[in-house]
Symmetry: C2
């Protein structure tokens, strides 16, 4: 019976983290209160917090899980491709779909967490930034591979490309969530391809 209890505890903990991510996408990580989680889980507050120790640990668990979800949906389907432009394009398409068909009710977890924590110090901000920098480095490596292979221009600045890819995906989340723009997905795909030089700049003759 102890083993079964340990499995139950892990499953309960996992469910709490899932609910926390969903609530965070709607109302921010600070809006994820132990009281709300307890209500939605049908648990006591002490029962919820007992799995983590503190609200901050719970928030950190949600950030960690969101990073795993992102990796599974955006990176892993393309990870087996050769490094370079083909893989970048596959990743960009998956990123667009991840944002538009968000696994969270309130849209992109990272845009919300970034906006919420960018003015604060602490472990949650550090964890959000570390996860985002990790993704940046993966993208930068593929931009470099594409440049070395001659698929991108020699003067390509990988960090500029990543800056622009991030901007497009944030704008896409806004178009999908705030504007409810049915053309958001097509606009996002086009914008990402333009950043990568695969389609002409729309403003150039």
């Amino acid at each position: 019976m102890p083993r079964r209890s340990a499995v139950d505890a892990l499953e309960t903990r996992s469910e709490i983290v899932q609910r926390a991510m969903e609530l965070a996408s709607l109302d921010g990580l600070e809006g994820v209160t132990v009281g709300r989680l307890a209500t939605t889980m049908g648990m006591s507050k002490a029962g919820v917090i007992g799995h983590f120790g503190s609200k901050e640990r719970l928030q950190l668990a949600a950030v960690q899980r969101a990073a795993e979800v992102f990796a599974r949906e955006v990176w892993q389907p393309a990870a087996g491709l050769e490094p370079g432009l083909e893989r970048l394009l596959a990743v960009c398409d998956a990123w667009v779909d991840h944002v538009v068909r968000s696994p969270y009710p309130g849209g992109c977890f990272w845009t919300a967490a970034s906006s919420e924590f960018d003015g604060r110090a602490g472990e949650v901000r550090d964890a959000v930034l570390a996860a985002m920098r990790g993704w940046d480095e993966i993208l930068i490596a593929d931009v470099r591979a594409a440049t070395t292979a001659g698929e991108l221009a020699p003067e390509t600045d990988p960090r500029q490309v990543v800056f622009e890819l991030r901007g497009v995906t944030m704008g896409l989340n806004q178009a999908a969530q705030l504007y409810a723009d049915p053309r958001g997905r097509a606009r996002g795909r086009r914008a990402l391809r333009r950043v990568l030089g695969v389609v002409e700049a729309p403003a150039r003759a």
Copy 2:
């Protein structure tokens, strides 16, 4: 004396709205509680809410004021220029400066408000979206003028351009606030110029 009191009341109301915008940029519009405002203003809660009637009215006043600040900093300096590419570039440069040297302690009010309210219904969301659509229409008119003047390619899609400009400025706010990237301003200017076709796509040979 009644006239003096009326002026005082307007000034106090204006100061409350200013504090509300500052708090909102750090902790979101929902984080702007009457209690916090009362504490920072050295007023009673009843005194604060008496100027507005409800928290929602106070939030709406903050959105309205933020729109005025944006117009003053980003639109008005360029408004006297001829419609077209020159004015678009002047507006984009002012937009970059507005985001990087934000008048709010927590960075871009609109990115924060958009992220916070995109999953909610109600008057505040409607006001945020209406203000943003108003800005979109101003940009679209200048993209059309630039296209008519032959400064942008005939096939330019104004809404695609605005989608991309918005994405860059959101990414810029993230770079400035979360990443504290000292190159954010230069990256933002370059990205906006690329959207407008004034510099080559970084990834094209």
